[in-house]
Amino acid sequence: MSLENVLTNWSQYRKGHEEGGFHDYEHMWGLSIDLNKCIGCNACSVACYAENNLAVVGKDHFEKGQQMHWLRIERYWDEPDLAPGESDMYPTRGASFLPMMCQQCNAATCEPVCPVAATYHTPDGLNAQVYNRCIGSRYCSNNCPYRLRYFNFYSHYETSWPEPLNMQLNPDITVRDKGVMEKCTFCIQRIRSAKDTARREQRELVDGEFSTACAQSCPTSAIIFGDLQNKESKVAKVWDEHQVELGKTQQSKENPEKRGYRVFEALNTDPCVMYLERVREA
């Protein structure tokens, strides 16, 4: 692709999904995370470890950035959107916490680069990782702007789950071994289980009948999980209320003061996680 070509066709660059392509999704799982309520307490992160068989890598591997926290709490000391505080001396507006998990992008940058199609898009709008297809090229993690993909550089089974800790492992999902990329799945085992139950009972899924481990554990109910395609779902209503739509690189809000935003939306990744702005007194 020549530079000239790029400049000429810039407006068309990676816009395909806005104009057509596959839209016949069964569900579109999404999250809403209210940063006005998040207190950065780590409950969601530990709940994720418990639910998803996440390995504890230990200090040495952690230092090398080889940790496996699918959901992490980022902490920043500045607020670029607010006027500088009166004091340089102290962080007078506290800290800024950001729970970060796979954003389940609909135009995921990780997907097209996988040489073996181990990372692909499901009919549920999820960005799935097929562990036994993964060859560990790590292109996907290299391409993820959120750095939310975690690679198993080592086999952590022996060190992370010495007996009988292994008895806690959730049998609904696998334990990943060396050489495999892994990431947040929106607790796909819970989705699977709820779908099976609904099918067995010959009914539709009901909003709120199940939730992800993070949303369930949140002590301040800052995280809401649900199906964005179900307009009656709680999460869809929050997205609607805050005037954030899928399939856009820039939201055209009727009321620009509404708090919804998506991280790195301008990169055209079309994430399914909406954050609600943190609020401060001044």
Binding site: A50, P91, Q168, Q216, E257, V263
Partner: protein, 738 residues
């Protein structure tokens, strides 16, 4: 399940049939086989245990045993193994939420370093023995021949029917020596609340307050009920949004969420409270009729100038805070606790802060009576450091021949300066009830292996009470991992049978006792249900609601005397051993998930660090990652530095929890224990250990590769990207106001 070890009847009994809570479906077809004992036997589920549906998780209600706040939990059990813990929406304490420590309780349960058999000291080391031998030894030391009045209990917080049995044991022995000890406690605040409000523990209506001023209290983190406050916080933040002001010398989890985070010179929080009181009375015309004449006189001397000089805060910050409180009046809520009360004048600071509620008229509005708990004998005996001192005094006098230690690890948590280790060594016979070989357990003469909180029966009453009262049920959610461990209640019953066979001999085990105890409840309490139905409903929901007895607050005119700041040139810094949700007082340092969860402020994992202001770091010639020696009168620790602005330049904060010399593979040798070098200073009024008052000197030392700080993330700044976007509250109230 351990294959053929299972006796189906006992399994049913243990599970409390009828106690199945919410059932969630698993996959349609079972896809797994048993993993236990390294065997994968496909036939096992051709004939599964009755009531076990392969592939289907069943949720049992129980009570979290991780801290004294007593949250209700649902435990997911599949193929006989507990996999996941979630909050129980029926519990009035947490209503569905659960903190990281509760989530991680499965790793306490499955911890590879559990004690599996009783151990007795023989020839200097602990040797495994049978329960028969252990009970025989206990019969000799605490039986009829022994001097009952010289037997003591040293415990953490105990409540419910375990407390009934423990009191029964003390009665049978003819002793009153029960010492209840917690490092992270609200004892000073309770004493001050009793004096000011006439109620040790009033209920704070944070959800409906317009402004919350927290003086040192880490409500959302290491407090007496973090889940209750977190839930209230979520409501508090709805439009019209309440303002949270946090005043402290080093930032806590709650401080991180504050609208105004105000640094205060360590130990001068009381001065600020007095200064605010003065402004409210003199400038904003608030009513001082609830104050004593002496207090009013004392308050009048705290001008803004005095406050600024003492606290090193900005005059404008103090004045605008007073203005904010005056504007919101009775809708304000002032809470105090944590580091602010950890000084020799901690009680006075607490009283001064509580008087602000009196001045603002918020007593009866945001500060309310939580009502009384109708079954006094079941309520929690909250621990304090005072309990530790009473124990050491008693042991030093030679009044203790036998001590039972349960739910606390004082050898680790008691500062060296308290002389606890020597006092403990003076007790001739030490019995430790524990799941793990911690620092206290290794000194025991007899070790009784406890079942985990997910394997035992019990009832609990939350240490922090709200107006919604309940008894929370704890039931085993799976077979015991180790046959020779026993629940705390069962051990108590064994001990009672040694002294009082007549009353307690009829109970086969603690379960039988509990069932009979519930059967014995008054009929009107059961709402017309027969005993069996009532018991099964209790197991199913996990909580039994109890009507609160009526109680009111009565404000007393308390005198207050706030000390001025004392400089110490030889030790210029003030050391705070900060309490964190996570490792707590060190009892969760053996849980790998919690070790690997980045700290809320520093984002460090698997180790210790000292938080200091960048100005201080500059002065000392260090930067983040360098090592310093923090030296008190009683010893020193070497830790890496985390320099950030959320600390007063005179303060040094080292989170507690690390620095274990025992406690299993995940905890041992990780980090340092700041508690070990604290001074033995006490609050003058209550005699509680003044946890934040230790003066230290800090100097740079050479880098230590082994203990270096490892942190998550490199960037402290968003570098202008829209990661965490912020807006102002007035916009929020406009767009999202009701």
């Amino acid at each position: 399940m351990n294959g053929n070890d299972i006796d189906r009847r006992s399994f049913l009994k243990v599970m409390g049939w009828g106690g199945a809570g919410v059932a969630l479906a698993g996959c349609d077809m079972p896809t797994t086989v048993t993993l236990e004992e390294g065997k994968e036997t496909v036939v096992s589920y051709l004939m599964p245990e009755e009531y076990v549906i392969p592939g289907r998780g069943v949720w049992y209600a129980s009570t979290c045993q991780q801290c004294p706040s007593g949250c209700g939990i649902h435990a997911r059990v599949r193929e006989g193994r507990v996999l996941k813990i979630e909050g129980n929406p029926s519990s009035p304490v947490n209503k569905g939420g659960l903190c990281m420590m509760g989530q991680a309780s499965v790793q306490s349960h499955y911890n590879p370093d559990r004690i599996t058999k009783p151990m007795m000291r023989s020839g200097g080391s602990l040797v495994e023995v049978s329960w028969d031998d252990a009970l025989a030894a206990l019969k000799t030391t605490t039986g009829e021949g022994a001097e009952g009045s010289k037997v003591a209990w040293l415990t953490g917080t105990v409540s419910g029917h375990q407390r009934v049995l423990l009191d029964g044991h003390l009665d049978a022995l003819g002793t009153d020596k029960h010492f209840s000890y917690e490092v992270i406690n609200g004892a000073v605040v309770r004493a001050a609340a009793k004096a000011v409000y006439g109620d040790e523990q009033p209920e704070y209506d944070m959800a409906n307050a317009s402004v919350v001023l927290s003086i040192g209290s880490d409500l959302l983190g290491a407090s007496d009920s973090p889940m209750n406050y977190s839930r209230q916080y979520a409501e508090f933040r709805n439009a019209p949004r309440g303002t949270l002001v946090q005043v402290e010398s080093s930032m806590s989890l709650t401080g991180g969420s504050a609208d105004r985070w105000l640094a205060v010179r360590p130990g001068t929080e009381g001065t600020l409270a007095m200064g605010l009181a003065n402004l409210l009375l003199s400038k904003h015309g608030k009513d001082g009729s609830g104050l004593s004449a002496a207090t009013k006189a004392a308050i009048s001397s705290f001008t803004v100038d005095v406050v600024v000089k003492e606290t090193e805060m900005q005059a404008a910050d103090v004045e605008s805070l007073a203005q904010l409180l005056a504007d919101k009046g009775a809708n304000s809520l002032v809470v105090v606790g944590g580091v602010a009360t950890g000084y020799s004048h901690g009680y006075q600071t607490a009283v001064a802060s509580m008087l602000l509620n009196v001045i603002l008229g918020s007593v009866g509005k945001t500060v309310k009576s939580a009502g009384g708990f109708p079954f006094e004998q079941l309520s929690a005996q909250a621990g304090s450091t005072g309990g530790l001192f009473e124990f050491t005094d008693s042991a030093n006098k030679g009044d203790i021949d036998v001590v039972f230690v349960y739910g606390t690890n004082p050898v680790f948590t008691a500062p060296t300066s308290t002389g606890f280790a020597d006092s403990f060594a003076k007790v001739p016979y030490k019995v430790v009830l524990s799941q793990f070989e911690d620092e206290t357990t290794v000194l025991a003469d007899l070790v009784l292996p406890l079942a985990s909180g997910l394997e035992e029966w019990g009832t609990h009453v939350a240490a922090h009470q709200t107006a919604e009262k309940s008894i929370s049920i704890q039931q085993p959610v799976m077979e015991k991992l180790y046959k020779e461990t026993k629940g705390f209640g069962d051990v108590l019953l064994d001990l009672l049978k040694i002294r009082n066979e007549a009353d307690f001999g009829k109970f086969d085990d603690y379960y039988a006792y509990l069932v009979s105890a519930f059967g014995a409840l008054p009929a009107d309490f059961k709402g017309g249900a027969d005993d069996k139905t009532f018991w099964q409903n209790a197991l199913s929901s996990g909580v039994v609601a109890v009507e609160a007895s009526k109680a009111d607050l009565s404000v007393a005119k308390v005198d207050v005397k706030v000390a001025s700041y004392a400089k110490d040139a030889s030790r210029p810094y003030n050391l705070t051993a900060s309490a964190r949700l996570g490792l707590w007082d060190g009892r969760y340092a053996n849980i790998p998930w919690l070790q690997e969860a980045p700290d809320v402020i520093s984002k460090a994992v698997w180790g210790s660090w000292v938080e200091m202001h960048p100005i201080t770091a500059n002065r000392l010639g260090v930067k983040t990652g360098d090592f310093v020696k923090v030296e008190s009168e009683h010893g020193s620790i070497e830790v890496p530095v985390y320099a950030h602005r959320g600390v007063h330049p005179d303060a040094m904060a080292v989170p507690m929890g690390q620095g274990h010399k025992e406690y299993g593979r995940f905890a041992k040798g990780v980090g340092v224990n700041p508690l070990s070098i604290l001074a033995n200073a006490k609050d003058e009024q209550t005699g509680e250990l003044a946890l934040s008052s230790t003066r230290v000197n800090v100097s740079k030392v050479s880098f230590n590769e082994e203990d270096k700080m490892v942190r998550f993330g490199g960037s402290e700044s968003q570098v202008g990207r829209k990661l965490v976007a912020s807006i102002k509250a007035d916009v929020f109230n406009r767009t999202e106001g009701a």
